[in-house]
Amino acid sequence: MSYPFRVTDATVDVVEALLSGDDELYGLKIAKSIGRPSGSVVPILMRLEACGWVLSEWEQDESVRGPRRRFYRLHADHVGAARRLVGERKTASATAVSSTLRPGLGGVR
């Protein structure tokens, strides 16, 4: 299936983090949850937002003074496609692992 952005491991990781259902996901939290540097997550979120997969909103808590965080979430129209993308990656990585780490029985004979 084709996607409106370049599919890399980091992009799929970000999409997977967005599928977690957390309502208060901000850039740094996503970066921590997928174990990647915060700077590398910013351009991915930017591209996903530009193609309409991701929506972002400012923190609504009026009691908080000072700068506000921006929360990211998947657009309801693209949740299905996001699940498919993550599923495809899991299938691909499982196939790759099974083909490279298959135990060889040749030595037993």
Binding site: P4, Y26, G27, L28, P37, S38, G39, S40, V42, P43, M46, R47, E49, A50, C51, G52, L55, E57, W58, E59, Q60, E62, G66, P67, R68, R69, R70, H75, A76, D77
Partner: protein, 299 residues
């Protein structure tokens, strides 16, 4: 002073002091570095957004050195962020536009010709609202502004004037008549998909005008939490439909009733009534002419 004493002083006193001092400076340095990085994005709007976003994220980080490490991570990713920002600017806006999502039907009282404010309270309300919406505090966004007043007091004229001003300034403004969208007679349920589409479509909009709104419209708007400023036009003295509960996201509320009362007291009741009657006569004549020309075109 022996060498041992110097080594002892350096390791036991000076080094811990320096480390402690560096630790205290880390959050300050991180803030400066983050602001500097955001300013290098090459787009004032993006710089403002990411500066606030990143600074808020830093504030939620524990420790002190982690602040500096995160700020450095933004700096190292700057070339990629700039490249992504440039490529996103070339991308066409995703999803349907507000024109496609919201009904374009207009109220019968709406006149597309240039608005003329006929008495002082209208001008006072219009300038107050314009100031509040245009010079909105960037820390206080997503605001629902209200223009209220009794029927015939000139709310729609004020809205038309604001519409003209925004168009002249090259700003994007969208008009919705609540009667054709959501109100007590049409209590539509906004699905999660529709909410997301509306949020996406209203991101580049400078003002959404919602005319003839009632409590049901305001509840829907408060739940939607659109990213653009919204101006709600609503009647007072409107039995069962008057807006009495203002949501937490309420910004400026301009009620033309008290403004007209103050103006009447200052001008004298007779003079004020004469001007009001004159304004109503002109407005009624305009409306009749407009309806006549519409029916002529329809024939």
């Amino acid at each position: 002073m022996t060498v041992e004493t110097i080594v002892f002083m350096a390791t036991a006193v000076i080094l811990p002091l320096l480390l402690s001092e560096f630790g205290d400076w880390c959050p300050w340095l991180a803030k400066r570095l983050t602001r500097w990085t955001a300013r290098r994005l090459g787009d004032a709007q993006a710089a403002e957004r990411y500066s606030e976003e990143w600074l808020a994220e830093l504030a939620h980080l524990p420790g002190k050195l982690s602040h500096l490490l995160t700020a450095t991570s933004y700096l190292l990713a700057l070339p990629r962020i700039r490249w992504s920002l440039r490529s996103t600017r070339r991308t066409a806006p995703a999803g349907p536009s507000l024109d496609e999502l919201l009904p374009r039907q207009i109220a019968t009282s709406w006149d597309s010709r240039q608005a003329t404010m006929r008495f002082a309270p209208q001008a006072e309300a219009a300038f107050g609202l314009h100031l509040a919406i245009v010079h909105d505090n960037p820390q206080v966004r997503n605001r629902l502004h209200f223009l209220m007043g009794p029927p015939g007091c000139g709310k729609t004229t004020v809205a038309r004037w604001l519409h003209d001003e925004f168009v002249q300034e090259g700003k994007k403004i969208h008009y919705v008549w609540a009667g054709a969208w959501i109100n007590q007679d049409r209590p539509l349920h906004v699905s999660a998909q529709m909410r997301d589409r509306l949020i996406q479509a209203s991101q580049g909009v400078d003002l959404l005008l919602v005319d003839e709104a009632d409590q049901a419209t305001v509840q829907a708007l408060a739940a939607l939490r659109l990213p653009c400023p919204v101006l709600v036009l609503a009647r007072t003295c409107w039995q069962f439909r008057e807006i009495t509960n203002f949501p937490a996201s309420t910004g400026v509320v301009v009620d033309m009733g008290p403004i007209i009362d103050r103006w009447r007291a200052a001008l004298g009741a007779d003079q004020a009534d004469r001007e009001l009657v004159e304004a109503f006569v002109v407005a009624a004549r305009d409306r009749a002419q407009r309806q006549a020309s519409t029916s002529y075109r329809a024939e």
